[in-house]
């Protein structure tokens, strides 16, 4: 997408917005917050390290990390499913932790290190989890797959670090990469094709456990 022309469209919006603000100023106190609404798109610089590469961008403050990756950096591996934190397609790893990039603003990630599916491995040097997904057919259409793989890599790290889950029997013993643990921890990644059992096989192989 041509980012410049997008900005020009919003500038035209500003004129309309400006007139609206003036009109609203006359209505009583209850509407004051509306009148005070910032009508002009605001931009800010932000520097992120994405897959080991430092990137400095000027973004509208409203831009999510997801849209920054896809529309500004053209890293389209990360997918937008719901845009509301409900599907996990947008999962990326930020400073070692998996998050939903659709519910985070780019400007909140100044200085952060972000790993997307493109940064986990390359077609010639697949990450072990990517290789295991290929081997076990951990997908059908593939739309949820980048999020599944980023999540799966982080899940195994979380189990290693001792983070408890809803199915962990004892809160004081270290959790293990069992089938039930991995299923529960992957519940934030929805797959419309229902590749769940193959995803679990792939994860079990990487975790070194039997599915």
């Amino acid at each position: 997408m041509d980012i410049k022309s997008e900005t020009e469209v919003s500038r035209r919006g500003v004129l309309v917005g400006g007139a609206m603000t003036a009109g609203l100023a006359a209505i009583p106190a209850a509407a004051a917050p509306v009148a005070a609404q910032q009508e002009r798109p605001m931009t800010m610089p932000v520097t992120l390290t994405v897959n080991g590469k430092k990137q400095t961008l000027e973004v509208d403050t409203r831009t999510t990390l997801l849209d920054t990756l896809r529309e500004h950096l053209h890293l389209t591996g990360t997918k937008k499913g719901c845009d509301h934190g409900q599907c996990g397609a947008c999962t990326v790893i930020v400073d070692g932790k998996r998050i939903n990039s659709c519910l985070s603003l780019a400007v909140m990630h100044q200085g952060d290190k972000i790993t997307t599916i493109e940064g986990l491995g390359t077609p010639d040097h697949l990450h072990p989890m990517q290789a295991a997904f290929v081997k076990h057919d951990g997908y059908q259409c593939g739309y949820c797959t980048p999020g599944q793989i980023c999540s799966a890599v982080a899940v195994l790290a979380e189990i290693k670090a001792g983070t408890p889950s809803h199915v962990t029997a004892s809160l004081t013993d270290a959790p293990r990469a069992t089938n039930a643990e991995m299923r529960e921890r992957m519940s934030g990644n929805i797959c419309r094709c229902g590749a769940y059992s193959n995803i679990l096989d792939a994860m079990s192989e990487v975790a070194g456990t039997n599915a």
């Binding site: 005070a36 605001m42 909140m108 809803h166 990644n189």
Partner: protein
């Protein structure tokens, strides 16, 4: 989303003052609830104050043997903390019963306490909703109310507080520490933190505009068996229909708080007095004055059964 300006605060007092001073400003912590609502234009702040540089991300021991949890501690870090897992198991359990691993990594202690309702009509800006638009009416009353409240509700709003963590916080008698825009600090017992809707469902807590949560403190551990039993429409990654947090002592005495049924975590100390007599004795006292709708009357039975299950689980 509506356009907004964005800034980071460097001290709690400065953050509180900035939100009070700037028209239509809001704090942003993990952003997992606020951004969701901003995308739907249910929340339309003109300015966001990001709290990530406030250094409120630590869990420390208090001098009376409890824990002080920084407002910005992530839900994952809180649930994983060795002291929490050992001494406040119900809190770990409640947190990991909520949302997903990704969301818990971003969600914060204060943001979680302040998450808004999941009433479907609150989420649909075409519908009347007194909470979203005071005075517009309530589409849920007489509408599809299966998920909504059965007690503590009003003629203006029957929504529930949807979260899990706060139910455990209520059970543990936590205290919410804040700083107000004038720089004054105060401590609000969690029992007084959430307000009932009455005729003003848009007011949900005791916080004044601009008041910043700095920490949540837990009193010293009380032992017992800690249980969080959540019943929902799917096994994971769904909000509670009913949830029960319980701490049960060897002699059968203990505490109970219920989520998913009221505008706040529901706890009735008088009902706890009969806990040794079981769920059938506790439930009528716990739900005295309940006003379920046709759609959610099942929750009354579900509370009793979930409590019974929790008590069986507590016996081991």
């Amino acid at each position: 989303m509506k356009p907004f300006t964005y800034a980071r605060a460097t001290s709690p007092a400065e953050a509180a003052a900035a939100v009070a001073r700037t028209p239509n400003a809001k704090f942003i912590a993990g952003g997992t609830n606020l951004l969701d609502l901003m995308k739907l234009q249910i929340e339309t702040p003109a300015h966001l104050i990001d709290l990530q540089d406030l250094k409120l991300d630590r869990i420390e021991e208090t001098k009376d043997g409890g824990l002080r949890i920084g407002a910005f501690v992530s839900n994952s870090d809180l649930a994983s903390d060795a002291r929490v897992r050992r001494d406040y198991g119900v809190l770990s359990r409640a947190i990991v019963a909520g949302a997903s691993g990704q969301l818990r990594n971003k969600a914060t202690t204060a943001g979680n306490l302040l998450q808004r309702t999941r009433c479907p009509y609150f989420y649909d800006t075409n519908q009347a909703c007194n909470k979203r638009k005071p005075g517009s009416g309530c589409a849920a009353i007489g509408g599809f109310s299966r998920q909504l409240g059965i007690i503590g509700t009003s003629d203006a709003c029957i929504a529930t507080y949807p979260g899990d963590m706060a139910v455990a916080m209520r059970l543990l008698d936590a205290t919410v520490e804040t700083v107000r825009p004038d720089g004054a600090a105060r401590a609000i017992p969690i029992a007084d933190f959430y307000t009932l809707p009455g005729s003003t469902p848009h007011i949900e807590t005791a916080l004044v505009p601009g008041e910043l949560i700095t920490a949540v403190t837990l009193p010293k551990p009380i032992g017992g068996t800690h249980i969080y039993h959540k019943v929902r429409d799917r096994a994971s990654y769904a909000f509670a229909l009913v949830s029960v947090a319980a701490i049960v002592q060897r002699d059968g005495s203990g505490r109970v708080a219920v989520g998913g049924i009221a505008p706040k975590p529901w706890r009735v100390e008088a009902a706890e007095a009969v806990l040794p007599q079981g769920a059938a004795a506790v439930t009528p006292k716990l739900l005295a004055g309940a006003k379920p709708t046709h759609d959610n009357a099942f929750k009354v039975t579900l509370v009793e059964r979930t409590l019974a299950a929790a008590l069986i689980e507590a016996k081991g």
